[in-house]
């Protein structure tokens, strides 16, 4: 993935709307965001999440 030319899609804006969460606690804004992405963007987002968690697990942060 070429991060220099394909930035990670922007996350949803913060909202004070309490209905942004379902009764069982699911963040609806996060779902709205991922549904707005293309399939390729969704896969790249997952890759970014996994890479970020791996960096945290290994106790280091790479410069982006």
């Amino acid at each position: 993935m070429d991060r220099s030319t394909k930035p990670t899609p922007r996350p949803p804006k913060p909202t004070s709307d309490l209905s942004a969460e379902s009764p069982d606690g699911v963040d609806l804004t996060l779902i709205q965001w991922t549904l707005s992405l293309t399939p390729l963007e969704r896969l790249e987002l997952l890759q970014d999440w996994v890479d970020g968690l791996a960096e945290l697990r290994n106790g280091r942060v790479s410069e982006r």
Partner: protein
Amino acid sequence: MDGSRSVRFRGLLQALLRHGVDFFVVGGVAAQLEGAPIVTFDLDILYDKTPENLDRLLGVLQELKARYRDPAGRHIEPDLVRLETMRTHLLLTELGALDVLSQIGAGRTYRDLAGRTVLYELGEDRVRVLELAAVIESKEQANRDKDRAVLPVLRQTLVMKTGLRRGEENT
């Protein structure tokens, strides 16, 4: 690959496609591609068990230097007999964790679920993915703690995705 590096989803998919393996994506990556915001650390695929496809699958697994994730630390590689007879293959490859499955949920096979897939374009690659409703069913049937944990997000995503589709149809 050492344990400090994370899985390379596209690399694994491209290797499977390059070898012409008949498979589709299931599990967490399928859910994410269908729009559900969940994190998973491996790629799950469901494969067809024709002899020709087993040969192709074994070819890509050998290229990726796949071995079973054995808690005892033994080095066990997949082979045709195992791919033919075993349901679940939890593998570690040069590109990360790859779960190769011949059945999911309540014993559903590639042939059982092939009609419930969608084709996604990922750049220049075309990848078949289990539809979200079928992912939910497979997790309900598996009914492990980790499956139950993600079901609220998957169900809510399906509701919102269906709503979006209906909205588009009405405009």
